[in-house]
Symmetry: C2
Subunit: 476 residues, 2 copies
Amino acid sequence: MEVKEARQYVVDKLEYAFKPNSIAVIGASRNETKVGFKVIQGLRKCGYEGELYPINVKATEVAGIPAYQNIKDVPGDVDLAFVSLPATGVFDALKDCVEKNVKIAVVSSSGFKEVGNGDLQNEITKFCREHELPLIGPNLVGIGTPYHDFNCGFIPYLPNKGPVALISQSGSNLLAALGSSQIDHFGISMFVGLGNKADVDFCEMIKYADKEPNTKCIAVYIEALDSPEAFKKACLECEKPITAIKVGSSEIGVKAAFAHTASENQGHSNAEYDKLFEESGVLREKTWQEFLDTSLALGNCPPLRGDNVVIITNGGGAGLLAADHFERLGMPLKELKDISPDLRENIRNYMPAFGSPLNPVDISGTATSDMYGGALKTAYRDEHVDGILISVCPTAVTDVEAITETVINIHRQYKNLGKPFIMECQGGNECREAIMKLRDKGIPAYSTPEQAVNAMVALRRYSHIMNKKEKLIKNI
Amino acid sequence: MEVKEARQYVVDKLEYAFKPNSIAVIGASRNETKVGFKVIQGLRKCGYEGELYPINVKATEVAGIPAYQNIKDVPGDVDLAFVSLPATGVFDALKDCVEKNVKIAVVSSSGFKEVGNGDLQNEITKFCREHELPLIGPNLVGIGTPYHDFNCGFIPYLPNKGPVALISQSGSNLLAALGSSQIDHFGISMFVGLGNKADVDFCEMIKYADKEPNTKCIAVYIEALDSPEAFKKACLECEKPITAIKVGSSEIGVKAAFAHTASENQGHSNAEYDKLFEESGVLREKTWQEFLDTSLALGNCPPLRGDNVVIITNGGGAGLLAADHFERLGMPLKELKDISPDLRENIRNYMPAFGSPLNPVDISGTATSDMYGGALKTAYRDEHVDGILISVCPTAVTDVEAITETVINIHRQYKNLGKPFIMECQGGNECREAIMKLRDKGIPAYSTPEQAVNAMVALRRYSHIMNKKEKLIKNI
């Protein structure tokens, strides 16, 4: 439901949604297939060590933990109430939460606005707002953070630790991203599936993530915005980069988004959203892969302060794919001689005579880790170079592991210069392992040239956003 | 160098490039870092069992194999001569090959047109053409096929077996694809890095691949075409789908492509290539990922004969990303009721009441393998459905493995109906394993909705190409 702007009490209480000392599960179940069981199992398995109170009208214990008939019977304070009752029982449970002075409610139950029960949902929202009990959901899949071993919902695993806060309206896409996080080392700081967002809205989550110390980039998956103005204000006031993907824009998607999370897109065109994101200083991405890829870059790199990007590669083909894609995205590469007077000659020291000191700099298929290292240092040290993209392809003489170690060390030495450094490495297992190692060290690394270019261009787009943000804020 | 059209003697002799009974390595080396050693090592390691003759002016044996001073000293016939000498020695070696009546020459040496030695390269080409000795390369990384355990060049591994013939001008991109083949189960039938393509041209490789029995789709990476008309004719006469990626179109890419493989793009605009590909009945892809993804689909699936695609998903978000992307690509989804009169009610039997029988069909986060199976069969059996895309997201109750087994079985039963079936599965390890298993069974499977949609749309584009091919042929 609409909010005029991010409410401070909500933002403050979100601390209890990500770091609760005590949790009551209303609708706790002994049936292992039910959410009321899975949530307790997930909390335990992932390492939650706070108080846990199953609430069940019949059972005296659930999953080996003493249960209570009503949340009001719980002896201690309750920070977070997780509600997994049938839709019809949710309102009464929330009334009990208010009486118990619960700090925040998280509701996984579906069967509200998305199936036509909009009135019930609205009643609940009004009640929660009157009593300043923030409600996340309903129709929510989970919430958590790997930094506090906290996984609250029915998500099978915690993601890898990292800089990206993932705020998703869709549960399935949140799950997909958390899975990718594990296998692709896409690091996440905190995550939430907002579901129907009956009460707590994107704007409040963004405000919270802005202050959350592990978060360096905020990634938002949107099916519809109830409160575009509040969203815009929160984004403009946010000091961290924000990427967004907005679905439900196609003709059939409008209907599907309503059926999914009761999202209302009728009459809101894709172009309107484009405008909104632009005015909000948000980087909109089209595909899910681009959304993840640019979030990774923004979470790990400084903004790209100019257009002078140098590509260093041992594969002419990969360099060409990258060069074409830079031009396709409106940021054509410049030749080394047009970037800096001495760069061409300096970088020549690190390639055989048959290499090509153009840009992409093709240090040839015979390139060693020393050549890569020398070329990388040269680019870092040149004051006219704004960003560096290194591409490695596994020829029979390429030592991918040694190159990876070398660039990690050089990155560590030079990263305080504030120049984005991105890697691309496509091939077999040796390349996959290199990507994982690089990502673990805070270097965005990708398996195709175009992904790396998208990421670099996103850093430039963010730099432009930072420059015009002051002006945008005045327009609110 | 230009050819007027594909030469029959070249196409015929290409059989010896992929299935030679005997190979001479001119420039065989005892130095393990040299191509002249690597090629012998690679042939042996991957299982080549034909005759192998190292040619080395000084050594009497290389890698434990008796060596000869000159190819003319080899006692038996030589099908293929692999030349890895310095550029200056190549011409003499080819003269020897002609005397020895070698069937085909493969030249890895660089130092020709790409570094300014165009005259030498042209002389060699003329000589080879006069003597009908086809020359692949120079500046080539390798050639081979996993179906004959044949890996000839300096490529570290053979790819997985599968339906895609990969004809790449770039060595590095070929290497990247072969690496991806291993870790992503992207199946390849035959591969070659054409390098400078001084003699053997794309058109001849395409003609050969068209007849090669394991190939179902031909994927071509191009930096520049010397013989566009010959290319067009070969493509139009080809009975298999062809995908192409063309680089070197950006301003800086024109220079980089010349430095890389002596490719001449000056004065050939990107739009001209668009037109050429369209007139040739070739599917042009923009990014490397799209190139691989659509090749996989075209290699495994029949063309999509109509626009009636049904999406079945357990994740509303994934469905929305797919629906939006279909519309973005100009092929919007239709609602079930607009596809077939009974489809909506029939498919309802396989979802809970709170699922959504729109399109995407959201069979809900609780979907079992039986529900997936029932919905898939229903879509297969409906005569109005042209293609099916199934998306699986790993909720806490999703049995990804069981769903995978179910759809593989149903696909086996129904694939003779000629309807494309594509899977999308994004998440952690269980999803990655599912994708590999599906790919091994000939079902294109991807990790993001947009990739799956790109693949499905490519099958529709190919269907349109087939319909207009007759008309295009008349225009040659």
